[in-house]
Amino acid sequence: MSEAFRPAHYGTNAARIIRDEPTMRTAVTEATRSKDERRQAAWAEIDADAWRDWARDLKTHVLTHLADYLEEAEDRLIENGVHVHWAETAEDACRTVTRIADGRGVRRVVKAKSMLTEEVGLNAHLEAGGLEVRETDLGEFIIQLLDEPPSHIVGPSLHRSLDDCRRLFHERFGTPPDATPETLAATARRVLRDDFLRADMGVSGANFLAADTGTLALIENEGNIRISTSVPPVHVALVGIEKLVPTFEDLSGMIQLTARSATGQPIGNYTSLIQGPRRPGERDGPEEVHVVLVDNGRSRLLADDHAWETLRCVRCGSCLNICPVYRQTGGHAYGWAYSGPIGAILAPGLLGLEESMPLPYASSLCGACAEVCPVRIPIPELLVYWRERAAEEGLAPRTETAAMKAWATLAEHPGAFGAAAEAIRVLPRGKAGRALPVLRGWVEERAAPEPSGERFLDTWNRREDR
């Protein structure tokens, strides 16, 4: 991953992808449309408004009492024989995993898909320490082989076509160039089966952590999470502190709503409910289970009276699937682990506002995302909130800030405003138009707008005067 992979380069990365990778937009559009259609069908079966209200209220309650629930969860986890670690930063989370690995002489790690591990950069950290890390989710496996970042929260390789996969597998594993999807899948199964069986440690995330039983809930369709968390002798789960739910029973609503939203299924094909390491009398299961509770900016986000609503997110990807801006480029343009609408409002919280610019502006504020968020995060409002913060902190472009002040002053003086509006009629077109920053962005891609011969207000007032 290159230096160019940062939010700051969204504009140039987006333009480059659109220009140089036309198949990206097609693949992303097809994939996200079909995911959104599945969500729609799954929501149509339920009383979606009631489910969403419940989920919003549940997460709001948990976040309001988060410290109590974290302590309760920790007590239960420890009672269950789980080792609990707390990591304030991404760096701390990575070092914790390394420490656990060193303590057990771990050399080979299998990874279950976890956006949090992408967020903290765990793979690179472990590999730099000499560990072999294998992604086991098929989509993550594919992008690991291609050394690419994920382009979607739920389907990390959705920008890659069948032909791309055929080429990749032919190069790496010698499958025929026209192999069927079933052959490719069988190859992946065979390769990864070896990795599962030889691994010293499995690393996962968690969708939810139930405080009253210390249960980790993980949702998937392939089975690689069940296997990664069952076969290797050590299991380490990285869990964002916002993933808490109060009770074991609360998992039912959250698991079902997340599955219906993410993949249109009543439930993920495999749901793991993990309490801890293998118990006496059980034939198998990990000897050691570790949970690393990760902050990495979440407590700071929680303290923000507006932005804390972002922490309700269940990482279903529904907002990505409906976003017309995201569809143009897929996730790579956003320059960090989380893309699309949720990426744009998480970034200022987890990365800091300056590092996340200009993602809060990478939206036309169409509002489609808020209509599909299962936990009713007011994403467009939060995008505007972060833009306000940017303006207050001097991060907005200076010309824009100055222009807005001037515009407001004009607007308070209707005569002057009218004169300025009249001046627009004689605005330079063509080459001269490109000189004005705002106009340049427009005329690069569109014919310049034609003003009406006379302003309506002038016409009206002229007639009034007769």
Binding site: I18, A368, W407, A421, E464
Partner: protein
Amino acid sequence: MNSPSADPTPAPHPVTTHSPIRVALFATCLADRFFADACADSVRVLERFGVEVDVPEGQTCCGQPAYNTGHREEAARMARQTARTFADADYVVLPSGSCAGMIRSFYPGLLDTPGAEDPGARTPAAVARSRASPLSARAYELAEFLVRVLEVLTPAPDGTHVPLGTGLAGRRIAYHHGCHALRELGVRDEPLALLRACGAEVVAWDGDIECCGFGGLFSTKFPAVSAGMADRKLDALSPGVDAVASADGGCLLQLAGRARHRSAGAQPPFVHLATLLREGIGA
């Protein structure tokens, strides 16, 4: 007040039985400058339905571009100016879904201190009036106003509506739903029903409710992405539409500008809803 001359053919729809309603028109800065005809057409349509239309002086900009880019104080200044301008209007009608959405959704938050609506309000009665009937409670997009307030559409037994006119008979129209009208105001069926009641066929358009990519300054901050979003809409237009319509001037500039950039050849006209309705009812 001088009104533009009325079409001599009477409209088939009876004049509303409401007693004459007075409406203030908020032209909006973009429509005033780029769709002056549509503003005039809005007046004619309203007058045809028996409404008296004022166009108060002092109207400038609703403040949405400032609000959407996070310049809240500037937006509040423009909101105050707008609220002052329209303080006495019973109804404010806008030929713009996005500006109407701005007023309805965001003016309450911007003007939430007592008297903020009308900084000149000194007496308890004036303060009470500005609080009791804030501008956000009196502002409507044009199609919304016609259908929900004036109730110009009368259901017919076959599920359609009694015709308002025949001016759009035989016309195949693709309608772009601006995001703010659609999602902030909940306006979706109203413009289509009005067009059909004038004889138009509203053609199916895959992606008709998707964002055109304008988004105000978004269109110039990320031109490639914005243009891509317009391309998606334009690529899905069926050939042989007679017009592409919208209630939002910004969306029309975006789609028309992109269409012309892509091809110097013939384009369907990109027309404001108000203009089509005027033609439709023969005003």
